[in-house]
Point group: C2
Chain length 566, copies 2
C-alpha cells in the first residue's frame, strides 16, 4: 500500500520526528483532492529572475520553463533568504531563515539537528534524492563529538543534508592543489575521461576551457574567454550530464514515490558554454545595465565597499558585461532546452500528472548592475529569484497560467511539499508557509514582508575596509509591499521605494522625509527576529499535552503535579 | 604532564570543539598568575537571593556561605536567565540565553549540538562530574534520527548534558504510577532502603513524609505538613546524602584536576525538613510579604492570570506562608551547615587554594510575595539569585570580601571557568562573559542590562485564560541599571523603577510619562535579540582565515578563489 494513503497511521507518525500535525492554517478543501505522489524540485544556480522570457526578458526565450509557468503559477515577487549558495540552499532544505539554520556563508556546516527535506519525507516512504548541487558541508566537529565516523553510513545522510546523493555535482573546483582530492572524487571527472577527455583534470581542461588560436588551452575561469566555445561537446557538458542522471532516476523509480532535487550548477560561473550555446546571443541582445546616474549612486559605506570587490570592478566595465552576458544567456538557454527533454519524459510516463513541480533559483547575479558583480548584496538582481510552481491536481486549475504578486520566499518550498504530499507539518520548526492555498485560490492572510540576509564577515576586503568586527557584518533585508529596507550592523539603513523606483536607484535611507517608513520597517525587523522559531526540540502538540498537567484540581492531573498543594 | 600546562598545544586544540582562542577582551595580567586547577560549581534550587545573611536576611544566619563571600566577591545584582529549573540550568551549562539553547521549559530536550561545561573542560583532561540535580532530559528524537542508542555509552554524556553523573539526584518524583521506574532507578531510593527505610517508595514515605499524631504518614507534598519533622534522620536526608557524595568525589580525585557541579535539590519543595531543621525558625522570624497596597497591584493581564495559579492562591494565605517559610529557612540552614563540612574538607586537603568556587541558585521562590507562589514570573523574588565567586589566586585578593553591583548573569559562569582554568573560549557560541576581570579589579566595559525569559505556553491555565496561541506566550525581562522592563507577546509591557521602587510595587508600563524609558528598553530588547549567537558551527578564527581567500590579487590566494577574473 502506498504509504501516503495513510500518512497519519501511528507507525508512520512514530517513525517521523515531525509527528504532530495541526490542521492547515487555511481551511481549503484538501479533502476533495488526492495528494500528489512525487515532488520535482528544480533549482538553477545564480539565475536572475529577469533572465527568463516568462519573467520579461526581451531576447532570451525559454519556452520550456514558460510551458511550466503556463500550466502552473508564476510568482513575480519571490525572494531568496540568502544571497549566496550555501545560506540560500540551507533555507530551501530546512524551511528556515538563515539566522535559524546558522549557515551564514558557503562551506559553513549545517547543525546536525536541522531537519531537511529528506528527514520529513523519507519516514513516509518517499525516496528523496539529489541530482546536482547542494553546497552541503559535513559537520565534522559535531560528528567527532558524537563519535560518528564521517565516512560511515550513519553519517552519509547528514553529510548530504538529508538527500540520497544519486549524483552530487557541486560544480568545478578551483584549479588548486588544495582541491585535488575533491576533483578526483567527482563523478563528472571520471565521466569525462570515459568520453575520451583525457588528463589529470579534464573538467578544467575540457569542460571549463576553450581553445586559443594556436590551439592553446584558455581557462574558463577568465571571463575574457567567455565568448569562446568550451572544449567539451554539448552532449557531454554539465547541464546535459545532470539532466541525464535525473531522467535515469525517474525511470529507475517507476511507480514508487519520490522527491528529486534537480539542482543545476548553471548558469553559475565559470561563464563558458559549449557550442552552439556560446554564440546564440549577441551584444545587441544584452540588456542595458541598471545604474544610477553618475554622482547619484548611494553613498552608503557598505555598498561603496562592495563596489570595490574585484568582480564588481570588472563587471563595471562594458567589455566584461558584453562578453560575459551573452554566454550567461546561452547557459540559461541550454538549461531550458534540457528541461524540455525532461518535461517530455514526465508527460510520456504519467509523472506530469502526479508530480508537484517547482522551478526556482538559489539567487541572482548582478552582472554589473549597480556597478556590482556576483550576488553579495541585497538588491533585486541578487535576491530576486524566479519561482514557478505546478500542482497537477484539479484544485489548482483555478490558478493555472496566472501570476501571483504576493511576497513568497525560498523557505516556502518545504511546507508546500509537505502539504501537497499530505504529510505532517512541523510548525515549531518550519518558518516558511505552504503555497498550496495560493495555488488553490483559497483566501488566506499572507506575510507582509520578505526577509533576506547576508553576512560579509567572510569577506576580508569589505570587512576590513569598513573596520567592522567579525560578528558585526550583517545585512538584513525587509521587503514589504512597497518598500525595501536594508538594515546594517553599525551603519544607517538603506530604503528604496520599489513602487516608484523599482530599479533601486534612489537610496532614501538618510532622507528625513521617510523616518516613519524606516521606523515601520525596523519594527518589522524586530517582529521577525522575535518570531524566529526557538523551541525546535518540542512540538506544539507536546507542549499542549504538557500544559494539561497544570489543570489544578482535576484529580487525574493532581496525581501528577502536586505543586503548591495545601 | 598536567594538560592545563599546555592548553594551546595542537593536540589539545585538535581534541576540543572550541579550539580557536582569541585574546581575552580585557587586557588584564593573566600571565602573572597561575590558572586554577579545579572548579566547584555549587547550585541550590529555588533559593531566593535575600534568604542568606550575607544578602541581608535578618533572622536566617548562614555563616558558611558568608565565609565564602568574605573571602570572595558577592554579586548583589545577579540574575538567572530562566525562572524555572530547566531553562535556567541549561543557560548555566551552555553559557547561552534560553532563546539560544531552546530549552524553554522543564523537560524540554537540549539540542545535542549545544556544548556544555563538560564539552569545554573534558578535552583538556578535567574530570567534569555532577553530584545532584541538572533537570536534563534526553533528546530521544535526535538520538533516534542519528541512530544512537539512548542507552549506549555514546549517548550517556549527551543524556547528562555533558556531565559524568557521579550522582544524579533530581529530587523526588511525583507519587504517580507514571514515575515508578524513575523512582526505582534513583540511587537515593536504594540508599534509604539500605539505611532501613523500607517500602516501595521510601523517598516519599520517609524523606518526604511526616508522622501524624496517630502515627499515620502525612505527605510532604501537602504544605499543611511543612511544620512537622521529616520521618528521615538528618544524617540520611537528601542534603547530607548529596554532600557526602561530593566529598567522596573530591577525595577520589586526589590531585587530578576536576570540575564538580554540586547541585542541591533544596530548598526546593516539597517543603519538609528533618529535625532539627523543621523547628529552627518561628513565625516571628518570617519576613513580611512584599505586596502592593490593596487595589494598587498591577492590572497587567499576565500578572493577574499568574495570580490565579493554585500555588499563588495558596501562598497568598498567611497560614500557608507562616507554615512553609520557617521550614524553607531551615532547609537553607541545613545546606549552609553541610557546606561548612565541605569547606572544611577543602581547607584541610589544599583544594581551597587551587579551586575556583562558585555558589549560586537556579532561581528564587515568590513565597507569597506579589500574591504569587513558585517562580514563573520575572520579578526579583524569582529572577534574583545569589552569586558568590571565590578565586583563590593572588590576583583576586584585591576584591576579597567586596560586593559587586554590576549586572551579572547565570551564563557568565562557564566563561569564568574557562578563563580561570586557562582554557580556550568560544566567542562564537558563548553569550555570557567571564567575571575574572571583575574579580581581579581590571577595568572593563560591562553589559548595560540583564535578560531573563519565561514561556507560559506550557501552563494551560494561564495560556487559556489569556487566550494566547502556543507560540505567543513569551515574557522577556530587560533589567538595566535603574529599570526593569518586562515585554510580553500580545500585551503591553510592564516597567518598574528599581531605584525608587525596589520592591516592584508600582507598574509604570501604562504611564505616558515613561514612554521614552520604555522605548529605550524596547531598543535594548532589539539589540539583544539581534546579538544572539547564530553562527555556532564556525569559529571567528575560521571565518577570518576563510576571509583571507578573498584578498584578490594576492597570487597565492588567487590560485584558490578565481571569482570575477578577467
Amino acid at each position: 500500500m502506498h504509504p501516503l494513503h495513510k500518512p497519519h497511521s501511528p507507525n508512520a507518525l512514530a517513525s517521523t520526528p515531525c509527528n504532530q500535525r495541526k490542521p492547515s492554517p487555511a481551511p481549503h478543501p484538501v479533502t476533495l483532492m488526492p495528494h500528489v505522489r512525487n515532488v520535482l524540485y528544480i533549482m538553477c544556480d545564480q539565475l536572475r529572475r529577469d533572465y527568463l522570457s516568462c519573467y520579461g526578458h526581451a531576447h532570451l526565450h525559454t519556452p520550456n520553463i514558460d510551458r511550466l509557468a503556463a500550466s502552473g503559477v508564476r510568482f513575480s515577487r519571490a525572494y531568496t533568504q540568502g544571497t549566496i549558495c550555501g545560506p540560500s540552499r540551507m533555507s530551501a532544505y530546512t524551511g528556515r531563515y538563515v539566522s535559524s539554520h546558522q549557515v551564514a556563508w558557503n562551506a559553513v556546516p549545517l547543525p546536525l539537528e536541522e531537519l531537511t527535506i529528506g528527514d520529513y519525507l523519507r519516514p513516509h516512504g518517499i525516496r528523496t534524492a539529489l541530482v546536482g548541487k547542494t553546497h552541503a558541508t559535513p559537520n565534522l566537529d559535531a560528528l567527532q563529538r558524537l563519535d560518528i565516523d564521517p565516512d560511515s553510513a550513519q553519517a552519509q545522510p547528514l553529510n548530504e543534508v538529508g538527500f540520497e546523493a544519486y549524483l552530487r555535482h557541486d560544480g568545478i573546483f578551483p584549479d588548486s592543489p588544495l582541491f585535488a582530492d575533491k576533483r578526483e572524487s567527482a563523478s563528472y571527472t571520471h565521466y569525462l575521461r570515459e568520453q575520451g577527455y583525457a588528463g589529470s583534470n579534464p573538467w578544467h581542461e575540457w569542460a571549463n576551457a576553450a581553445a586559443g588560436e594556436a590551439g592553446e588551452v584558455l581557462s574558463g575561469w577568465h571571463m575574457r574567454n567567455a565568448h569562446l566555445p568550451a572544449r567539451v561537446a554539448e552532449a557531454h557538458s554539465e547541464t546535459v550530464y545532470t539532466t541525464d542522471r535525473a531522467i535515469d532516476f525517474i525511470h529507475e523509480q517507476g511507480e514508487q514515490p519520490w522527491c528529486l532535487h534537480l539542482s543545476y550548477i548553471k548558469p553559475h560561473w565559470p561563464y563558458i558554454a559549449p557550442a552552439p550555446y556560446h554564440a546564440l546571443y549577441g551584444v545587441d541582445q544584452v540588456q542595458a545595465p541598471i545604474r544610477a546616474k553618475p554622482g547619484q549612486a548611494s553613498d552608503h559605506p557598505v555598498y561603496q565597499a562592495f563596489r570595490q570587490h574585484q568582480e564588481s570592478v570588472n563587471f563595471s566595465r562594458d567589455e566584461v558585461r558584453l562578453r560575459v552576458i551573452p554566454t550567461y544567456m546561452g547557459l540559461i538557454k541550454q538549461v531550458d532546452d534540457q528541461l524540455g527533454r525532461l518535461f517530455d519524459v514526465l508527460q510520456s510516463n504519467g509523472r506530469w500528472d502526479d508530480t508537484l513541480i517547482v522551478f526556482t533559483s538559489d539567487h541572482g547575479d548582478f552582472l554589473g548592475d549597480h556597478h556590482l558583480g556576483e550576488k553579495e548584496f541585497l538588491l533585486e538582481p541578487a535576491v530576486g529569484i524566479p519561482l514557478i510552481v505546478r500542482d497537477p491536481r484539479a484544485a489548482a486549475d483555478i490558478s493555472r497560467g496566472t501570476t501571483d504578486r504576493r511576497l513568497v520566499e525560498t523557505i516556502d518550498a518545504l511546507p508546500t511539499f509537505l502539504e501537497a504530499l499530505g504529510l505532517p507539518s512541523a510548525e515549531h520548526r518550519l518558518e516558511g508557509r505552504s503555497l498550496i492555498p495560493l495555488l488553490h485560490g483559497v483566501e488566506t492572510d499572507w506575510r507582509r514582508y520578505a526577509i533576506a540576509e547576508y553576512d560579509y564577515a567572510f569577506q576580508a576586503p569589505a570587512r576590513e575596509r569598513l573596520a567592522q568586527p567579525i560578528d558585526r557584518c550583517r545585512m538584513t533585508m525587509v521587503r514589504s509591499e512597497r518598500w525595501k529596507y536594508l538594515a546594517y550592523d553599525g551603519f544607517r539603513a538603506q530604503l528604496f521605494d520599489l513602487e516608484n523606483d523599482p530599479q533601486e536607484l534612489h537610496d532614501l535611507g538618510a532622507d528625513p522625509a521617510y523616518t516613519q517608513v524606516r521606523e515601520m520597517h525596523q519594527g518589522y525587523l524586530f517582529e521577525w527576529l522575535r518570531g524566529l522559531k526557538r523551541r525546535t526540540t518540542i512540538s506544539h502538540t507536546e507542549i499542549d499535552l504538557r500544559g494539561q498537567q497544570f489543570r489544578y484540581g482535576e484529580p487525574e492531573a493532581e496525581k501528577v503535579v502536586q505543586i503548591g498543594v495545601w
